[in-house]
């Protein structure tokens, strides 16, 4: 609008600038600073904290390598499965009459807090096949029950576990068991959004493709996928951000024991249990470094959207 004073927009932005500055920007900068200081944030120690993460000296109590690897596992497996399942279900449910009911059934877990999710799934994963649903199915199929979350027969002792006997982290069954819970929790989100994206493709565009000679698979690959790609990027980005922040689920289900720690839970342990702010901050910075490529991607996407507006 012509004649609007220069400071008016900044007035509208003021609350946001203040809140984001205090709660997100300042802590980010402060964390980077602390990652170069000692455990009480008094003396400059250079890259020692990062060295600690690399050396992993305390691998029984706080396995930094496992945490980083687990996070990568979450990033790839969780995201891929959620988006894939959501996409398949979006396309499939669009072809049946009970679409709304089917989507609601899959969305319901989304409305359940991670804490409640953890309660449900500890129950599902219970070792005793008379109580745990998953093992009940396993024993019906004639298989031995699996300790889904422990992955080891060692007794539970907080923060000190024997390393698992067979496979190295992160390819332990308990990580996949946790990711399965995450998938169960988040597929409803991808399904609902992707299915709305699918609905926004006009029918006649798909019909035109059909008349042009495209079969179902070609319509999916050459029409639906590319037209929906902005939506798929939104959903994928959201999920990737979600995985990097994965905390609640692991915290409540296993508290990071049995080598299920992710960076966020380990960071929490370092900072609030071991009281080592330095290593904690360094871990957070490493987490942020994971995030940078995704940040770049997101920003690119927004610039792209600016162009077509």
């Amino acid at each position: 609008m012509i004649g609007r004073a220069w400071w008016i927009p900044w007035l509208w932005l003021a609350p946001t600038l203040a809140l984001l500055g205090v709660f997100l920007v300042y802590p980010s900068v402060d964390t980077v600073r602390r990652s170069f200081l000692d455990e009480r944030s008094r003396e400059f120690v250079g890259f020692d904290n990062y060295q600690t993460i690399i050396d992993n000296p305390n691998s029984l109590a706080a396995d930094t390598h496992a945490a980083l690897l687990n996070n990568m596992l979450w990033l790839t497996v969780f995201t891929a499965v959620c988006v894939g399942l959501g996409l398949i279900m979006a396309v499939m449910t669009a072809r049946v009459r009970y679409e709304a009911a089917a989507k609601a059934a899959i969305f319901v877990p989304m409305a359940i807090s991670f804490v409640a999710v953890a309660v449900i799934w500890r129950f599902m994963y219970e070792v005793d096949p008379d109580v745990g649903t998953v093992n009940a199915i396993f024993s019906e199929l004639g298989k031995d029950p699996v300790a889904w979350l422990n992955n080891t027969q060692s007794p539970q002792r907080p923060f000190v576990d024997l390393p698992p006997a067979d496979s190295p982290a992160p390819f332990q069954v308990n990580n996949f068991a946790l990711i399965a819970v995450g998938v169960w929790n988040w597929t409803g989100f991808t399904l609902v959004i992707l299915s709305a994206g699918l609905k926004s493709i006009p029918d006649d565009v798909m019909e035109a493709a059909r008349v042009d000679g495209a079969g179902e698979w070609q319509i999916f690959r050459r029409i639906i996928l590319p037209i929906m790609s902005p939506t798929i990027v939104v959903v994928t980005t959201t999920l990737v951000i979600q995985t990097l922040k994965t905390f609640d689920l692991v915290f409540v289900m296993t508290n990071g024991r049995f080598k299920t720690d992710v960076v966020a839970t380990l960071f929490y342990k370092e900072a609030f249990v071991f009281r080592d702010f330095g290593v904690g901050a360094a871990l957070a910075v490493v987490l942020l470094l994971f995030v940078v490529p995704i940040m770049v991607l997101t920003i690119r996407r927004f610039q792209f959207q600016e162009e077509i507006r």
Binding site: V205, E207, R210, V211, D212, G215, R222, I223
Partner: protein, 384 residues
């Protein structure tokens, strides 16, 4: 190049819904330009989409050439279709939009490029090939949709109201281009429109539909000259035909049609035999506005019957004047010579051309004197 046969085709969308297409039985000749026309919701699009393979047939068969295509998927029917909304692929450039069908058929890249360029040249969109559909105007999008169909070289072209989103001038221009296209391609065209002017100007043969049923099939001229029922009579021709309720009176040479409004019109000799069974009964008399003249500017060599009427409104059209007339409270329209002196409120003497009267049975709404077998189903006329 193909002929298309609809064999008693019926379409019902839901168990309790009325028939969207009811016993559609028609043979479309090779290289014909067939236009399906009718009011909104009469089943034109559905008929077309059944042929395209976008809807499932409820009953009956459809053949393309000699091949039964009831269960053949749209992609395997070798047809191309231009949609009303154009249905361009939003994520592809104009070139890719046009090339899509060809790439799916694994046609060599060189040939694709050549065919697309050729079509783009014909349609005048060669400069737009790199653009995305959203950067095109409505008319340009329409051309791309047309081009996408042309490059395919299909055996049948389908059009579903492709001109309805264009402005009046562009519509006339594109209409002419599609006619030219039909002549140069020599392919079977099936074209849906609700606009009877479009149908009259483009078709070699027209199918008039109403409520899912074929009302009449014929060349534009046949439909105009000899509409077989009141629906076709009222639908074809613009402005629409006037109808009067009349009673057949008199005898022999004196046979005349007396309107409830009072005036009477003599029956021309050729029609007397047809009316033999209607003596002293009501019939419906139809006459087109262009067959009612101002008595002062009557064209030569017509047999006219004069009716006094009051002028209600006049509309100057340029070469002609639309005169809205009243007789005994019944309004009707005449399209008269532009030199007419008729002014609102005045009375004029209207000259009905009695050789151009259309007579209908008020109960069946069928044309009187229609041979019985014609009434049952219209035979395909020779395509011109």
């Amino acid at each position: 190049m193909a002929e298309v046969t609809y064999e008693h085709v019926t379409k019902r969308f839901a168990e309790d819904a009325p028939l969207a297409v009811d016993d559609f039985d028609l043979k479309v000749a090779d290289q014909e330009f067939l236009v399906l026309v009718g009011p909104s919701g009469c089943g034109k699009s559905t008929t077309l989409r059944l042929l395209a393979g976008l809807e499932e047939i409820t009953e009956g068969n459809i053949y393309i050439e000699d091949r039964l295509v009831n269960d053949v998927q749209a992609k395997d029917r070798d047809i191309a279709m231009v949609f009303q909304s154009y249905a361009l692929y939003p994520h592809m450039s104009v070139f890719d939009n046009m090339a899509f069908g060809l790439t799916l058929r694994k046609i060599p890249k060189d040939e694709i490029r050549q065919r697309v360029n050729e079509a783009a040249e014909i349609l005048g969109i060669a400069e737009l090939l790199k653009r995305k559909p959203r950067a095109l105007s409505g008319g340009q999008r329409q051309r791309v949709a047309l081009g996408r169909a042309i490059v395919r070289k299909p055996s049948v072209f389908l059009f579903d109201e492709p001109l309805s989103n264009l402005d009046a001038k562009l519509r006339v221009q594109t209409r002419a281009e599609i006619i030219k296209l039909h002549q140069s391609l020599g392919t079977t065209f099936v074209y849906v429109t609700h606009d009877q002017t479009e149908a009259m100007t483009m078709a070699t043969r027209i199918v008039v539909m109403d409520r899912g049923r074929i009302q009449q099939v014929g060349s534009p001229q046949e439909l105009y000259e000899r509409p077989q029922n009141m629906f076709v009579a009222g639908f074809i021709g613009s402005p629409a035909m006037n109808f009067f309720d009349v009673v057949v009176e008199g005898d022999g040479d004196d046979l005349q049609l007396r309107a409830v409004e009072g005036f009477a019109v003599p029956v021309p000799p050729e029609k007397r035999a047809e009316l033999a069974t209607y003596k002293r009964r009501k019939v419906v008399m139809g006459i087109r506005p262009e067959n009612i003249h101002d008595n002062d500017f009557q064209p030569p060599n017509i047999r006219a019957s004069l009716v006094d009427a009051q002028v209600d409104v006049t509309e100057m059209m340029g070469n002609e004047v639309n005169v809205y007339l009243l007789v005994g409270g019944h309004a009707f329209l005449a399209r008269v010579d532009s030199r007419t002196t008729a002014r609102p409120g005045q009375n004029i003497r209207a000259a009905f051309d009695i050789d151009r009267l259309h007579l209908f049975d008020p109960d069946t709404e069928q044309m009187i004197g229609l041979p019985a077998e014609v009434r049952a189903s219209a035979p395909p006329a020779e395509s011109s």
